[in-house]
Amino acid sequence: MRGALAALALLCLMGAAPAPPPIARYPTALATDLGATKLVVESDADSAISGVQIFVAAGLDRESASNNGIAALVAECVIRTPVNGMPLRDAIAAAGGSLTYTVDGRSVHYYLEARSEHLAALVDPVAQALANPDFSVPTIAAGRASLIARQTEFESNPLSVGIQMFRRSYYATGAGQPALGNSATLAQLSSRDLGAFYRANYKRRAVLSSVVGSVTPELSDGLKRLAGGLADGPVAPVQERARPIPASAPRIVAHRDVSAPWVVVGFAAPAPSSRDFGAMLVLETLLSGAFERNSTTTLGFLERSIGAFYLYDSTPASLVVYVNGSQVDPSLALRELLLVSRSLSQRPLGADTLRHFKAAAQGQFLADSVNLSDRAYLLGAFSSQGLGDDSINSALDALQRTTAADVQRVAKAYLQRYIVALVLPRQTPGQ
């Protein structure tokens, strides 16, 4: 660990700049105005499979503390809505496709994937369910049971717990609440509650779609009909707000059935549309890799002692750095992390170091954005956050433009205040 700090300090002083790495590019994405809704497309020639993310601005930031989980429960009901005699999700699977959903801070996004020639035909059943979801008691009960099971699984993961603790402390809005809700609030949500949330948020102007793969006119028409099936009307604005992180570095503690402590350090972070975005991608990679033990082969998640995630699914964004206490002394790791964060704000990276971490950040970004689902998600999420139509390439451009001065400035602006979430083993039963 100390070696890592010393090495980083040395690297900061290194000199001459070699040639910048060549720029990797995704296929250029284009947007189509479908009237009340928008479609963003990244075409892959001859793609056997295509996928579409259907974003609805009905995410966590539209929940309150008392109805936490309602965004996910509405989505559960949508995918369970009977279509052609069977639940939507099963109907899609039987037709040779898949349908999933994810709730994040700004949206719930449904991901539909199928063979390219079949995708357009599968949009219509999804549109039917979205236009007329089943909020009957049995369907809600099934959705609730699924969410509680997943929430239980989530609670058994110390990293998830630590990140959620930080989010709850950081966000002043629903974005800080658990995406899947909790058993207490889920138990109280009724058909009437779900209907009200649906009517308030599932509007045609709240929909954006992004496709990766092969796009046909039939698919565009289907997505236009999907949005058109929802009610018209304005989309209510939401507050996207975080609490200022105090200089006192607050600590939050939770106990779980874990064998070793986990530490999650959370920082504020710039939005993707910010000029600081590229620099924060570099910092994410730098903090994730600077402390890790050297290994010739790339370490898998279970082998890593420290990692970092730049969370830009919510607004404002955040950066979390985690320490796996089963691999490394968490106190020492935390101290080193904070020393490096301070060091980064005090002096610029050397040219070689910057080049290395920009290349690493680019590689990380590409590796995280390779399958159709992730690419379609980024395309829509970045586009809706102001990165333009060709938004994934815009993100790569931001990374490419990043200078050592940018990294120093962003480290100074964002890494000096933080919240520490500690997930500790239970000492006594029931603690």
Binding site: R25, Y26, P27, A93, T296, L299, G363, L366, V370, R375
Partner: protein
């Protein structure tokens, strides 16, 4: 288990080999893999290269596959030998340039080494702009391997840690134990990663001897996929002149245990598993049917058994796979849940019993459609595509890889030929006999007052 390894495991569970010819890296005709795939010989009489450009993310998956027993070529099996030897090569600094691991890292890429019983894959995932450079560096490193003391020490450290972590992975432990029971000898009898003690006992000389024989250019299959030019394999280097007459390695000949016994082992938690011998690579239709069965029963989220288990045991671990090997293949399942697992086991048994009866036509048609979609969706990234070609090529059956010729290839023809009756008959044939059962359970706490 690394994410890369898990990815491969998932792939193996969903794919099929229809037919095979033994060891084909540097001999015989080149496979015919369709208009989108470039196939050729590596320089100077080396093995085969396969390049499959894929539009999309600007990444390249560059993989070197070798047929080689994980326990070495000698009469005395050395578990982890192949894994350690491959790591030493990647960690050793050549006379000119950087070690492979550093070159990949500097390009912003990831390097992985995955060892199976009778094959090994070295994989680099890099930005496509670095593809040619890494093809050259990778082939230079392995075709004329350099061993340094520093590289050997670093590799011992890395591989023993990987082995240590895999010892806590229930899937790996159950699978290795099932294989150890099903196979009386050969590399399949031993865990391919060994344990940390095995790693530390391997001498540098043994590792070097293994690398020199196994990693020859003549024994190599280079696979490149992603946003690359068809000519990217031109960057590969030739092998050592002294190897020019050497033939590729033949597949291992495992001995199936006559009376495979069930076994109980200590582990951190209660885990169960069981498995059967299945059809080999040459039994095309049957292997296809077994892949279909694994997908139908155990596909994550929507398999027949998976759904029933998740309804009643939401916290359960469940994994079922058919692993297509040269001969024979293996079907196995791993499960665990808090508390008594007997009811969970019963749901899995019910699934294996149900598939021994023909499915209703409508249900079968939907399952087959889903199966074919799953095959395609599991081939959507450069790594998945390269793994697919690499695995089937090293088994001598490249033309039968699911990614060949899209849905018009031989794999999909075999899938289209499946019928409810045939699938049920294959299930009856292989699942009728008692499986090898593995039980992992925590060791009882020591009694007070006793050492």
């Amino acid at each position: 288990m690394s994410s890369l390894t898990r990815l491969r495991a998932g792939l193996l569970g969903a794919v099929l080999v229809i037919a095979a010819s033994p060891g084909s890296a540097a001999t015989g005709d080149l496979p015919e893999l369709g208009p989108n795939v470039t196939v050729g010989r590596l320089p100077a009489g080396g093995g085969t290269f396969i390049v499959r450009p894929v539009a999309g993310a600007p990444l390249a998956a560059i993989e070197l596959w070798y047929r080689a027993p994980s326990t070495g070529f000698g009469p005395k099996p050395e578990p982890a030998l192949a894994r350690l030897a491959a790591q030493v090569v990647a960690a050793s600094k050549p006379i000119v340039g950087d070690p492979l691991g550093k070159a990949v890292s500097d390009a912003g890429g990831r390097l992985g080494i995955t060892v199976y019983s009778d094959s090994i894959a070295i994989s680099a995932i890099v930005p496509a702009t670095a593809a040619r450079k890494i093809v050259k560096t990778l082939t230079t490193a392995y075709f004329a391997p350099v061993f340094t003391d520093d590289g050997y020490r670093a590799a011992q450290r890395d591989v023993s840690q990987e082995s240590q972590i895999s010892a806590f992975d229930p899937e790996t432990v159950v699978r290795d134990t099932i294989f150890a029971q099903l196979f009386a000898s050969g590399p399949q009898h031993f865990p391919s990663l060994g344990d940390p003690k095995d790693v530390l006992q391997i001498s540098s000389a043994d590792a070097k001897a293994f690398a020199t024989r196994a990693f020859r250019s003549q024994n190599a299959i280079l696979v490149v996929s992603g946003a690359v030019e068809p000519g990217v394999a031109d960057a590969a280097v030739g092998g050592r002149p002294e190897d020019s007459d050497a033939a590729p390695e033949p597949p291992a000949s495992p001995e199936i245990a006559a009376d495979a016994e069930s076994v109980t082992k200590n582990f951190a938690e209660q885990v169960g598993g069981y498995g059967w011998i299945g059809p080999g690579i040459s039994s095309a239709s049957e292997a296809t049917a077994m892949d279909f069965i694994a997908d139908y029963l155990f596909r994550s989220d929507d398999g027949y058994v998976t759904r029933r288990v998740s309804d009643k045991f939401p916290d359960a671990l469940l994994l079922g796979q058919f692993i297509t090997l040269h001969d024979p293949g293996v079907m196995f399942v791993v499960y665990s849940s808090k508390g008594d697992t007997s009811n969970l086991r019963r749901l899995i048994d019910d699934g294996f019993a149900a598939i021994q009866k023909p499915l209703e036509p409508a249900a079968f048609a939907a399952a087959l459609e889903a199966f074919k979609y799953h095959l395609l969706t599991d081939l959507q990234t450069p790594t998945q595509m390269a793994d697919n070609f690499g695995w089937y090529s090293v088994e001598g059956a490249a033309e039968y890889a699911p990614g060949v010729k899209g849905e018009r290839g031989l794999y999909f023809q075999a899938a289209d030929a499946l019928t409810p009756d045939f699938v049920a008959s294959v299930a009856q044939k292989y699942f009728a006999k008692a499986p090898v059962v593995v039980t992992l359970r925590p060791s009882p706490p020591p009694q007070k007052g006793k050492p």
